[in-house]
């Protein structure tokens, strides 16, 4: 262990590892961007990285520029850090090498900041390793999250033959103009997605309202009022929250079939809130508990009845929580798939998720499927990014559920 705790060992080793990470990342990025053949060159990248790592310990300022130059130069030799296929021109190859070298050089210098070539203290060594892991973590997580999203969006803008010809080519042919969005216009034109979008929205909003209508008084009672059975109720909420939907879906399906509620928006609006009420109860009661009781007591002292206190004091104060809960419930309702899938057969009543499920069939080209996915994802993402604070709070408050 202690052998690693020397600048001249730690630098090259971290450099090597980092270079491999960067080379892979660069290759993936270039492949996706151009559709061309790029792959990480293990030996070239390793050598470059180890060298830059050593440099970062000795002359940290040089690591970046040297990385840029050397990376580009090496890309012309067999020891290229990012190996390119035969059909790739020299310029992109040079570019890839340079980018790779630069993205190795500067960061490794930053990682090794404060380290010298000799023996390192535990703090210095660990700080470098942590910086390395941090860099790796950002690249890794960003990649695994962004790639699927990118693929989803890009696929929706291509057509089947382009996709089959080169599944890596996600470059967009802007000359197609509006034709790029052909899948979307077809979805809205021929597949009725406008109406699905509306249905989903309507169902989600109604679900939010009904959920709050039930959950607010219930949560308040559980959070604030003292009565026999409070603990039991509080636990049942969590327990119910844990009952798997598929277990309930079966009898609900039967009951709905018998009552003729299948295939009706009314049935869906009836059933969604019940799946969200436990969540909302759980979240709201947590929030209500956190509200200072004294403010409500002040209301009582000011001559209000309990119900008026809830209406005039607790609710205005709970706005942020109500927003979080609403958003979270909206998200659940918007993303709900199982019930919609089981209960809706009639395309005129499809929700968005059900509509997408219907796209996954026989001969409908997959760009339509992806366009549908984008249509379902974008509103919820927009909401999410716009109201991130509430959303995050909502998520943390209520949801271990998925």
């Amino acid at each position: 262990m202690s052998i690693f705790r020397h600048g001249y060992v730690a630098g090259p080793i971290l450099g090597l590892l980092w270079a491999l990470v960067i080379a892979t990342a660069t290759a993936v990025v270039f492949s996706f961007a151009t559709g061309g053949a790029f792959r990480p060159g293990g030996i070239g990248a390793g050598l470059l990285g180890a060298g830059l790592g050593a440099l970062a310990v000795l002359w940290p300022r040089l690591a970046g520029p040297v990385g840029l130059g050397l990376g580009a130069l090496m890309s012309l030799t067999p020891l290229a850090p990012v190996v390119t296929g035969p059909d790739i021109a020299a310029t992109p190859a040079l570019l890839a090498g340079g980018v790779m070298g630069a993205a190795t050089g500067w960061p490794i210098a930053a990682m090794m900041a404060g380290c010298h070539s000799g023996a390192l203290t535990r703090h210095e060594f660990e700080a470098s390793v942590i910086r390395f892991l941090t860099g790796f973590g950002y690249i890794f997580f960003t990649a695994i999250v962004a790639i699927p999203f990118y693929v989803m969006v890009m696929t929706s803008l291509k057509n089947q033959s382009e996709l089959i010809q080169n599944p890596l080519d996600f470059s967009i042919d802007l000359s197609k103009g509006w034709d790029l969005f052909r899948s979307y216009s077809e979805l809205f034109g021929q597949f009725n997605f406008g109406s699905y979008l509306w249905t989903s929205f309507l169902v989600s909003v109604l679900t939010v309202f009904i959920t709050l209508l039930f959950a607010v008084p219930g949560a308040y009672a559980v959070a604030r009022l003292r009565f026999a059975g409070r603990a039991a109720i509080s636990r049942s909420i969590l327990l119910i929250y844990m009952v798997p939907m598929i277990v309930l879906a079966l009898p609900i399906y039967i009951a709905f079939s018998m009552l003729g509620l299948r295939n009706s928006i009314f049935g869906i609006v009836m059933i969604y809130p019940v799946t969200t009420i436990p969540v909302a109860l759980y979240m709201l009661q947590g929030y209500f508990r956190g509200l200072p009781a004294e403010i409500e007591e002040a209301g009582l002292m000011d001559g209000l009845s309990r119900l008026k206190v809830i209406w005039q004091i607790t609710l205005p104060l709970s706005m942020p929580a109500l927003a979080s809960v609403s958003l979270y419930v909206f998200m659940i309702a918007w993303n709900e798939f199982l019930l919609a899938f089981m209960l809706l057969d009639d395309p005129s009543k499809f929700t968005l998720t059900r509509g997408i499920a219907a796209l996954n069939s026989s001969e409908i080209p997959r760009q339509h499927l992806m366009a549908g996915s984008v249509i379902a994802t974008v509103p919820i993402m927009a909401l999410f990014l716009g109201l991130e604070r509430f959303m995050t709070k909502g998520l943390t408050a209520g949801s271990v559920k998925g």
Binding site: F32, P40, H123, E126, A127, T134, G137, F141, T142, V145, P148, F149, V151, M152, T155, I164, P167, L213, P217, A221, L225, R226, F227, L239, M242, V243, P244, M245, I246, V247, L248, L250, P251, I252, I254, V274, P278, W334, N335, F337, L338, M342, T353, I356, R366, L369, S373, V374, A376, T377, I380, M381, L385, E388, T392, L395, T396, S399, V400, G402
Partner: protein, 434 residues
């Protein structure tokens, strides 16, 4: 202003009121204010409790009921006798012969309907020929006692008729008065017949244990994976820097996006023929031939687990992050003063502090992953060795149309769930984390 009540004042403590009550006991019942509060509480809870009972508790009971009944999907429809009536023979004028035909059947293929009774008002202006021996005519009212219909039974009763003037005047058509048909049948759902065949069946097949095993593997690895990735991500985002909010939003994408959208994205991304992942791997020389990620035996399960990890790491990450940010920074400063290195701080300070939330999260996520249905259903449909218990419920109940067996699997799931919740409550009451 200065008056003192006789009881209090400077009287020594020993003489105060309760000396007359040697061992004070709590009063029975609740005081009026508490009663008022309890009434209000139940009033507020009533709608919710009713709704939840209707849609959660009743279905759960129903599941138990159904699981011991021999029901298929088709049996949900109670058997009824069905009749249709028409006039055959294309009569054209008064005096033409025709046949009045009643086609009868039992809507069920296997249940008996007993005491079937056909009643009909025959139209005016028809001269009735030979009646079926089981029928009697009273004026224009015909009643036929048809006895019992076996399952799948069908028959046709034909009555020869001669067209009369009145009928011809009415346009030669049968009036819009459908014949009545009644009978008694028992409904499997409500009848007293029970069977353990459903359970016997699911426990019998070697398949069940495979499914259970897959479920456990999926749950354990999915949960642990999501937890570890979440921990790593939380560590990354535990410092504030510019763009932290954006990154956090981005990292939550897998969880927030509709499952159906991301599942299909994965399917397309990992498609063996035109998926980008395969193209990339081939290009990088990792593999020569396309890999069928979601269609090969152990790989499909691994992929499904990876999907689960990918989709739910944001959640663990949020929780862990929240917990981390609530750890007193003073503690880390104290550790700084104590000379602990970053890894020492992580290992000796952060980890023990996070252990609570990690275990709570593990239990909760374990339960939820165990319950997961959509993901696998969408990704593989339970094929290639990825069938879990929940997918099995669907499979049994809908694909095989055996509701009883589906319910039996659901009961098994529910039993597991109870065990887990018991653990959970045992644990969470100690770990006042969440």
């Amino acid at each position: 202003m200065t008056a003192q009540t006789p009881r209090s004042g400077s009287a020594p403590l020993g003489q105060s009121a309760e000396t007359s009550r040697p061992a004070p006991t709590p009063p029975k019942g609740r005081n009026p204010l508490e009663r008022r509060e309890a009434r209000l509480a139940w009033g507020l809870l009533l709608p919710t409790v009713t709704a939840v009972t209707l849609v959660v508790v009743l279905p759960l009971l129903a599941i138990f009921w159904i699981s011991v009944k021999p029901v298929g999907l088709a049996d949900l429809r109670p058997p009824v006798p069905v009749v249709s009536e028409d006039l055959r023979g294309r009569p054209e004028a008064v005096g033409d012969a025709a046949t009045l035909r009643y086609r009868l059947r039992n809507s069920s293929q296997d249940q008996v309907i007993s005491g079937v009774l056909l009643t009909d008002t025959l139209p005016k202006g028809l001269e009735i020929g030979d009646l079926d021996p089981r029928c009697v005519l009273d004026g224009r009212e015909m009643t036929c006692d048809l006895g019992d219909f076996e399952g799948g039974y069908r028959e046709t009763i034909e009555i020869p008729v001669i067209i009369g003037q009145a009928f011809a005047d009415a346009g030669m058509e049968l009036p819009d008065s459908p014949p009545g048909l009644t009978g008694r049948a028992s409904n499997v759902l409500t009848s007293g017949s029970f069977t353990f065949e459903n359970f016997a069946r699911i426990f019998d097949g070697a398949e069940f244990w495979g499914v259970l095993w897959v479920t456990l593997v999926y749950t354990v690895f999915g949960t642990i994976g999501a937890l570890l990735f979440g921990l790593f991500a939380a560590l990354l985002l535990d410092k504030s820097f510019r763009g932290q909010g954006v990154l956090r939003g981005l990292y939550l994408f897998p969880y927030v996006a509709p499952v159906i959208a991301v599942a299909f994205t994965w399917i397309i991304l990992f498609d063996p023929f035109s998926g980008s992942a395969n193209a990339l791997l081939i290009q990088m020389g990792v593999t020569d031939e396309a890999i069928n990620f979601f269609g090969q035996r152990p790989l499909a399960l691994i992929m499904v687990i990876l999907f689960e990890v990918w989709r739910y790491f944001p959640l663990s990450f949020l929780f862990i992050l929240a917990r981390m940010q609530s750890i007193d920074t003073d503690m880390y400063e104290a550790a700084d003063m104590d000379g602990a290195s970053p890894f020492q701080q992580f290992w000796y300070l952060s980890m023990p502090q996070l252990l609570g939330i990690l275990s709570v999260l593990f239990l909760l996520r374990f339960i939820w992953t165990f319950n997961k249905f959509d993901d696998i259903f969408l990704l593989t449909g339970g094929n290639a060795g990825t069938r879990t218990l929940t997918v099995n419920v669907y499979e049994q109940a809908f694909a095989v149309s055996n509701i009883g067996a589906g319910a039996a699997v659901a009961v098994v799931i529910f039993a597991c769930l109870l065990v887990f919740s018991f653990l959970f409550f045992r644990f969470i009451s100690q770990e006042e984390g969440l």
